[in-house]
Symmetry: C2
Subunit: 462 residues, 2 copies
């Protein structure tokens, strides 16, 4: 998906970042009038990502109509810039022959991106209509596991033997018409296609023609195995500030190149997944239907109902105490809620630090001590505040003391749960972003209600 | 911070991603023995980011000792790969003269990165020790607002006039020793330094020597104004899959180049900020002290205390009802908790969709309808479940009906709050990630308690 800065003259976006309504209206009008020429004139200057935004902003029926009207003037790489659901909606109504033709025009990574979500029968049919060499290349990418580097790589690259010199290399680039659309480094390979090294283009341009490639190449220590998970590959890119990396197969033969623009998408998706998981939302998209969304949210809410009922059981243990002193029922959610929030704070920091690998065995001890102390300190501060509030409100001697002690206890437990739950889940190879918050709130609810009501029962002897 | 794949042979990381303990021990031993040669031998093969990880894993006193021992063999770019707090801890004990010498070795963006966190006096003193040309360049970057493109840009670049040809350009690159460490495009400028266009290096290499630069350059439509916020610049990079972009001043003169590796950091920071904000955590770092952390978390907890007390007031309105029927106190947290979770789900999706600009005026109506229906559907489903549970548990006719109705009401309100709160905050130019969750939980708590207790009061006539 790498491309550079050439795009449209007129800015199709309004200041708020959405497609300008008047531009959208023009496109809609052209679509409903079936005016292909007008439509082409409006859309041809657009960058593929602008075209993607435009398609997403149209009504579903207009989207299909637009693609049908533009025919082979439609740039299919725009489809890599829209939601899976919208892409499939467009793809499924197109004849396979047309898709096959279109895919041949795309970079191999974009073609794979579009192919990988289709059902197998359709995918096989489309691949069957693509010429042999290109088909083999796409098949090979698709054979790598989902979300692997092999799926994301671009299969076109420039490779030269180590004994060539700079002059030969430049002449080869000048005379060869079949180069990738864009490239930023030249790979060096031996006769069996095994990767020997790489040279950045700026290095080639600095050197005299007679300098040999093997003397200016660098060894590629960070070649990415094609089976490697894209997330792990992204971490290598981040750690070493790479712009591109060679992708090699199990025999260390060069099979493609992974570029940073694909990795940026991966980094974004990973952060996105963490945010949604922490909010109790699974893998959903904005274009999902009501039923899909309800189903995907249901599981999380069901688990939460279980923990809420558990907390209610704890309250139920003290129903006699509450009946004696109804102020306890009024105040009890405060202790639980403060614990829940403090626990969520610690948990969020821990989950994030684990994801970015900032939290490790070298600083875990310090972080656990810090979080416990922070819980204790904030616990004491809020114990004082709520103790005064409760005393003034209900004017019951002892109630302020009880809620204050319960607050300290729950805030410290919240801190401990907030740090240990994600750490333990991570050790057990469970994604802490997904599962932490239910355990943390269970702890803070149960401890909060039990500490407050239990202490009250003891203190007031009821 | 752009560099490429050349790094160390031995893998210094254990499988879990942390620095190998035995390697760390070797480094520690060399530091405490004051064995500079051994230390240099261990650390010289390291990539700057590996060196950063190593420094972070050491004890504070060892960090300073390591930098002191290595002296001018220490690569200061490693400091751009560690937490602000650790960096400042190291920098403050170093003599300014030494820092000034070190900064001259760095790329200008790395130097600015280290300078910008210092207090003004120290910054001025260090700048005063740097030679004029380089000082002016750093000053100019530092004069741009914090978090602007001007702060993040690299001030070294290659620029040629449009009337040169490919041959002249290559000869210039071959003969000029003072080129940036790395570059991926050549800018085209007029005699007043105004930006005219750019040529990617692969384009230069494909063309014959006599081809004129102006015939192969592309207009740079996505030049970034130096004052632009880095987040906005990152969005341009993402939208157009840029690898680098020209940075221009208010007179459209070329002043630097922004590269994707810096933008990746920005994208990560922004996602990070959203995750932490949604978890009720402000701008904190893992290296912050107990006091700093307690203070930064306190505000959020104080606000939450306010909303918890508000919810308690609502409960207090029904103290007579609760005294009559203590089962209400046992069950009431369930309704509030389910609403809170459902509201958080909707809010998380909304906040994220706003941040990625997926949610806009074209689909807001559909999303609002969808979320309301999802809330209604899940509300009905959980109303049935909890209605049965409550009836079986307390065997009180009517209690199941009351909690079921309250559940539907609260789940629908949760959905509405989850979508409208972030939308309204966004419209009011308040960051929805920071402020949404307090409003949403206030709504779900207040509505949850009020609906359940109020309905019970009416139904049972108490």
């Amino acid at each position: 998906m790498a491309s550079q800065e050439q795009t449209t003259d007129p800015d199709i976006y309004a200041e708020s970042g959405v497609i300008r309504p008047d531009f959208l209206d023009q496109v809609s009008a052209a679509v409903s009038a079936g005016d292909t020429d007008q439509l082409a004139e409006l859309t041809e200057p657009l960058h593929e990502s602008e075209m993607g935004d435009l398609i997403a902003a149209l009504e579903p029926s207009e989207r299909q109509e637009l693609v049908a009207l533009l025919g082979d003037r439609f740039d299919y790489s725009a489809l890599t810039h829209i939601d899976d659901a919208i892409r499939l909606e467009i793809i499924t109504v197109l004849p396979n022959e047309q898709i096959a033709l279109a895919l041949q025009e795309l970079d191999s990574d974009d073609a794979v991106y579009i192919l990988e979500d289709m059902d197998e029968g359709e995918q096989a049919d489309i691949l069957g209509r693509i010429p042999f060499t290109e088909r083999i290349r796409l098949r090979r990418s698709l054979d790598y596991p989902e979300d692997s580097a092999g799926r994301r790589m671009q299969a076109d690259f420039v490779a030269v033997p180590p004994y060539w010199n700079v002059g030969q290399t430049i002449d080869y680039l000048r005379d060869n018409a079949d180069l990738p659309e864009r490239f930023s480094q030249i790979f060096v390979i031996d006769p069996t296609f095994r990767l020997v090294g790489a040279v950045d283009l700026d290095r080639i341009l600095r050197e005299q023609r007679e300098v040999r490639i093997e003397d200016i190449m660098r060894e590629t220590r960070h070649a990415v195995p094609a089976e490697m998970d894209q997330e792990e590959a992204a971490q290598i890119f981040e750690r070493y500030d790479l712009l591109s990396a060679a992708v090699i197969d199990e025999n260390e033969r060069l099979v493609g190149v992974l570029t940073i623009d694909d990795v940026v998408d991966v980094i974004q998706e990973e952060a996105e997944e963490d945010i949604l998981a922490l909010g109790g939302v699974g893998d959903e998209e904005l274009s999902d239907s009501v039923i899909e969304t309800t189903r995907s949210r249901f599981t999380w809410l069901m688990i939460n109902l279980g923990t809420a009922v558990l907390a209610s059981f704890v309250i139920g243990l003290f129903d006699a105490t509450i009946q004696e002193m109804v102020a306890l029922a009024v105040l009890m959610p405060i202790v639980a809620s403060m614990g829940g929030n403090a626990g969520t704070q610690t948990m969020t920091v821990t989950v994030r630090a684990l994801a970015t690998r900032e939290l490790d065995i070298y600083n875990a001890g310090r972080i656990i001590r810090r979080e416990t102390l922070v819980g204790l300190l904030n616990g004491v501060l809020f114990a004082v505040v709520i103790g005064i509030v409760a005393t003034l409100w209900f004017w019951t001697p002892g109630l302020g003391v009880v809620i204050a002690i319960a607050m300290v206890v729950n805030m410290v437990c919240a801190a401990l749960a907030g740090i240990f739950v994600p750490l333990i889940l991570d050790r057990m190879k469970v994604d802490p972003a997904v599962a932490s918050s239910v355990f943390v709130t269970t702890v803070t609810d149960v401890v909060g209600f039990f500490a407050f009501l239990g202490l009250a029962a003891v203190w007031f002897g009821i």
